[in-house]
């Protein structure tokens, strides 16, 4: 038995297999991200009782229901506040926020900004599919300028969020972006981030062929993957302008920030408790 075969067997234990097949559409990228995440967790040898997965609402919010660990399916946009509460109550746990772009950056945008500013010890896995998938493909804060959605039938006039830039500007110690095409790099990135402290953000550009792709001339799951394959460029030292996502343009991926030694909020809080007790 090889290592990879063992990992696949372990993966089944980490999944609530009785709930499979899952609700995600054929070719949805969330399954690929969940697969990479579980493999990274297994490689890190984290016991099940030391891991908590918190999700918000939306397609990606369903993830909490498929992982066989303690998981939270929280109210819309409030995944990060719930996760902060868990981390305060049980600082020994690895708290992972697994949520979508609409949940983390639109409805929960303010929570993201303030949690990053305070450097809470959380791993944020943000699956960005450019749209609100579950409600029928409305435009959101990550929809690229000019993209066609149900609510922008003549093209989106808004500018999208530049998530790595936002996270770096708030001092997050680990910021990376991958697409679902980069399965191995994504797995290694999560593996690396699981061993770090502080507010770690991994943005994953994912495909939504059902409601985003079909309005933007990428009807099949494969054509969306081909778009990622042809247009993604790995550049770890990309400038903020390069990180910006454009409609049908280049996707700059990579590990944009990886610094250690920044104390997390929990560490600073313990220090305050210690000082107050003296």
């Amino acid at each position: 038995m090889s290592q990879m075969t063992d990992m696949r067997k372990m993966e089944e234990e980490w999944l609530r297999t009785e709930r499979l097949p899952h609700v995600w559409c054929p070719g949805c990228g969330i399954g690929i991200v969940l697969n990479a995440f579980l493999r990274a967790v297994i490689r890190r040898n984290i016991p099940k009782e030391k891991m908590v997965v918190v999700s918000g609402i939306g397609c990606t919010g369903r993830t909490a229901g498929y992982v066989n660990v303690d998981s939270f399916h929280t109210t819309h946009g409030r995944a990060i506040p719930f996760a902060v509460g868990i981390k305060f109550a049980r600082p020994d746990l690895n708290v992972v926020v697994f949520s979508g772009d609409g949940d983390l950056f639109a409805i929960g945008g303010n929570h993201f900004v303030n949690a990053a500013r305070r450097n809470h010890d959380l791993l944020i896995i943000a699956v960005n599919n450019f749209t609100y998938g579950m409600t029928g493909g409305q435009h959101g804060p990550t929809t690229p300028t000019g993209a066609y959605t149900t609510t922008t039938p003549y093209g989106n006039p808004d500018r999208p969020f530049n998530i790595p830039h936002l996270a770096i500007s708030l001092g997050a110690p680990y910021v990376a972006r991958w697409t679902t095409y980069h399965v191995n790099q994504l797995q290694n990135s999560i593996y690396k981030a699981l061993n770090m402290k502080g507010f770690r953000v991994i943005e994953i550009i994912s495909q939504c062929p059902t409601v985003y792709g079909r309005r933007n001339s990428m009807r099949s799951p494969m054509s969306m993957m081909e778009y990622f394959q042809k247009n993604s460029v790995i550049n770890n030292k990309a400038s903020y302008e390069e990180m910006e996502l454009t409609y049908n343009g280049k996707i700059v991926v990579g590990e944009f920030r990886n610094v250690g030694g920044i104390p997390s909020y929990e560490e600073r809080y313990e220090e305050i408790i210690r000082r107050a007790q003296e």
């Binding site: 990879m4 993966e11 499979l20 097949p21 899952h22 799951p221």
Partner: protein, 82 residues
């Protein structure tokens, strides 16, 4: 696919058909093309992939596990021989 003869068979691919949703990333990303879209349907009406090695012996699975990594539905198990 006669050039594949130089590779040694390293693994077999098991498809959990009831979980498959027919995105065929596995069929497209396999470097030696050991999977193909089957004629039969599963309970949900999707065509799951079928392991071609059982049909065509010139096609050889090299055990890279890429189909397993790309499968969004946890429907593929690559079993390495020995």
């Amino acid at each position: 696919m006669s050039q594949n003869k130089k590779f040694k068979r390293k693994a077999t691919v098991k498809v959990l058909e009831e979980r498959c949703k027919g995105c065929w990333y596995c069929v497209n990303y396999c470097p030696t093309k050991v999977l193909q879209v089957s004629e039969k349907m599963n309970a949900k009406g999707y065509h799951p992939p079928v392991f071609k090695e059982n049909i065509d012996e010139n096609v050889v699975c090299i055990g890279c596990h890429l189909c397993e990594l790309y499968c969004p539905d946890f429907a593929i198990v690559v079993e390495e021989l020995e």
